[in-house]
Symmetry: C2
Subunit: 445 residues, 2 copies
């Protein structure tokens, strides 16, 4: 049976969950931020669900107020994935690393080492990093987009060239003759960009998938040049099927423009489900998490709805006057859904408990609501799969794996086991080793 | 009983051993270079011997000819130690990282993450990196010493300040009140050097030992300024008891000059034993390894001895004329020992098989020869301990642990179990969190 099936990745981060107050949820160890055992356990749970990959966002900076919220990132994404690599067998391991604040040689080395360590499961999300807090940690400021993206292109190409600089068949290790390697097949790359350069070679042999897979999670035209040329996976933040389809089409078109087969890119839409037996219980789960953080978000919710809202009204629904005056802001794609929820009569706290201003769509209620959301988006052809952000890792992953995944599997929409062993296998990504000539011709400098 | 006891660290590297042809030794898997399981196994063997720490040299470059020799480094030292951290309980985990080719924020983050992951077992050897191959990998050339060492001082101080930027008691995680952290105790460091800068904070809580321990393995006056100010462990390459004592005294004097108690620095002399039941068998072990590499070293051995030697004489001893003409070179501290061996009548190949031009002294023969060497150096007060480089990891570690360690333990010269759980415990290094005011006053810029 060759029905097209969706792919699913999972966000991994601070040890608690994608809700910034998940650290204080019942059953969560409040110091999981520094507990690598917990990270491994969460990865194993995702692997039990046969998810294709883990994806770790990253910014080299503290960018949140820690009074009530946990940091959003892992202590260090590469060390986290090294621990996870040792504790899992199949699931893909994708991490973000900044092209602006890391050197290509160091990126190339650590990601290829992770790829070898995990037997071909590594992926890299090159981020241009627009956070000024990150720049300050490196003694600088954030440069304009053209500069950051030029450096990103150079960095990615140098990294890929370094990955290929130890040719596939260079490693001889013939104990009889004493020949360790064919040094004619381990060569400098001698790449000199405007912002970064490297001579190489990088002395790391190929992994089971050759070299790590490139992801992209940017946005806008600049981001698309990255996605189109290099990525096999693109993660989008999108709040409607039509927008998802538009983002997917744009990524595929960018691939085509770069001379690639658009099917080489898989497009993933984020989702942040709130799962509980009933909608009211799911909202309650989120309300508990939001005790300290929701009040400060009320004014922004008002802005989204085009009306003035203040925290003292947080436990009331919108008044009939407010509902009549409300107009979804054209600047926030989440606004129409927020208004829909408001019209159902929920209090402001409950509207926020619906995930109305979270980063990704939040199906609310029983597992079937999430499965239905995923089914509808996937069957409409708007996405190749999803990037699942558990609200609380401790129980959220198990719930997803035990309640959502089986529904998708019954519907024939998700595989029941890994077909291969590498991340490339999981994504159906083509073999690649070193630079891809198709995508670099345009930028040779 | 409070007899002073020696400390022992072990070199970990490419998966084969410190002899560059160890990859083809009998019993060694020739592709261990890419096998993290093997690294973990070797670390566990060292831990079984209660060794205080592992120490990984590193240069971000390929600097050897791979025709017959393996690369000398791990694929990546931090990922290797992450794997080892997950597979061991007690042994310290020290890695080299370049102050010239890495940014302080990235170093601070990865080493503190490793320290947390390993429950307080991490250490950092800041290397100024003098290899032009490394510079080329970052698009540059090697700067003069004053520049590299100025950057090293700035980098180490910024790294330590970042380590302390999340204060010891900043982490509240009170689920009742919802207070995650006391943000008045997580602050920017705002350090601006001539070459590097960082604002911080680094959002990583303290490990069980607070922060990683600093090592030093440089040489010369510049290296001593690093050792004196920051290091709790100094690794030296030294070929006589008198020289070891001089190096140890110099490090202690540098500590004193920096306002520290000299006992805060432990001095380790390298050793590369060749262990077998008899001297002849130990030499044979090394001769086998040198089949492809010894011929090219003959001329240099000649230089050391002040006479002309050519590879065609490799299987002959020195002639009486050569022996009469030989004068140990004053530029190579290994020369006197090489001449001693030559005078015993060994062939040139066998002289090399004695480790005559290896990086560290090579006790040759039964385990007792190594134990006696260590006992003599230690009891003469020239060293606080040793850095053991196994010639072949696969059997060399077990031999050392099973045959040398028990002799030292019987003599009361080595502990029989770990006294504590952290690297600071193992070294008797004082508590430190953040910058040490004593050592930075001199360099505030
Ligand atoms: C799902 C998703 C995840 C992202 N993760 C990161 C991340 O981890 N780190 C980061 O710097 N940017 C990340 N981004 C990208 C930024 O949000 C933003 O799109 C990007 O920095 C574009 O800004 P720029 O073009 O000014 O660089 C992510 C974007 C999306 C859609
Ligand atoms: C035992 C020992 C181990 C060393 N390990 C390294 C190393 O891993 N990486 C490195 O760059 N330098 C290492 N060094 C230091 C260099 O050998 C050399 O002493 C140092 O680069 C000094 O040169 P510089 O002052 O020109 O920088 C080590 C030195 C010793 C004695």
């Amino acid at each position: 049976m060759s029905q097209r099936q969706m792919l699913i990745g999972m966000q991994l981060g601070n040890g608690y969950g994608s809700q910034v107050t998940a650290w204080r949820a019942p059953g969560v160890a409040p110091r999981n931020y520094s507990d690598f055992d917990a990270q491994v356990r969460y990865a194993q749970a995702a692997e039990r669900g046969k998810l294709q990959f883990l994806f770790l966002p990253d910014t080299p900076a503290l960018s949140s107020d820690l009074t009530h919220e946990a940091p959003q990132m892992t202590l260090d994404p590469l060390l986290t994935l090294a621990a996870v690599a040792r504790g899992t067998e199949r699931i893909g391991l994708v991490s973000t690393a900044s092209t602006t604040f890391m050197e290509p040689y160091n990126i190339a080395r650590q990601f290829k080492a992770l790829d070898v360590m995990s037997h071909g499961r590594a992926g890299w999300n090159p981020a241009t990093t627009s956070d000024p807090n990150a720049a300050a940690n490196f003694g600088g400021t954030i440069a304009e987009r053209p500069v950051r993206y030029q450096r990103a292109h150079e960095t990615i190409q140098i990294v890929q060239a370094l990955w290929g600089s130890w040719q596939r068949d260079a490693w001889i290790t013939d104990t009889a003759t004493g020949r360790y390697a064919d040094t004619s097949k381990i060569n400098p790359i001698n790449m000199q960009g405007e912002y970064v350069a490297s001579r190489g070679p990088l002395p790391i042999p190929p992994s089971e998938q050759g070299q790590p897979v490139i992801f992209s999670a940017g946005g806008g035209d600049y981001g698309l040049t990255i996605a189109g040329r290099y990525a096999n996976g693109v993660i989008g933040s999108t709040f409607s099927i039509d927008d998802a389809r538009a983002q997917r089409d744009a990524a595929r078109e960018a691939a085509r423009a770069a001379g690639r087969d658009p099917d080489e890119i898989k497009f993933f839409a984020g989702i942040m489900p709130a799962i509980a037996p009933t909608v009211r219980e799911a909202v309650e789960r989120r309300k508990q998490l939001g005790v300290h953080t929701f009040p400060a978000r009320v004014p922004y919710l008002g802005q989204m709805l085009g009306i003035r809202l203040t925290p003292d009204q947080i436990d009331d629904p919108l008044t009939p006057e407010q509902l009549a005056a409300a107009r979804p802001s054209p600047f926030d794609p989440r606004a129409p859904r927020a208004l829909e929820i408001a019209r159902e009569g929920w209090t402001i706290r409950e509207i926020l408990g619906h995930g109305a201003i979270d980063y990704h769509p939040t199906p609310v209620g029983p597992a079937s609501a999430t499965a239905d959301h995923m089914t509808e988006w996937f069957e409409s052809g708007a996405v190749d799969g999803f990037w699942f952000s558990p609200d609380i890792y401790e129980d959220g992953i198990d719930t997803f794996v035990d309640e959502v995944i089986p529904v998708l599997q019954e519907r024939g929409l998700f595989h029941t086991d890994y077909e291969g062993t590498t991340l490339r296998d999981h994504l159906g990504a083509p073999a690649q080793y070193g630079l891809d000539a198709r995508t670099t011709a345009a930028t040779a400098s």
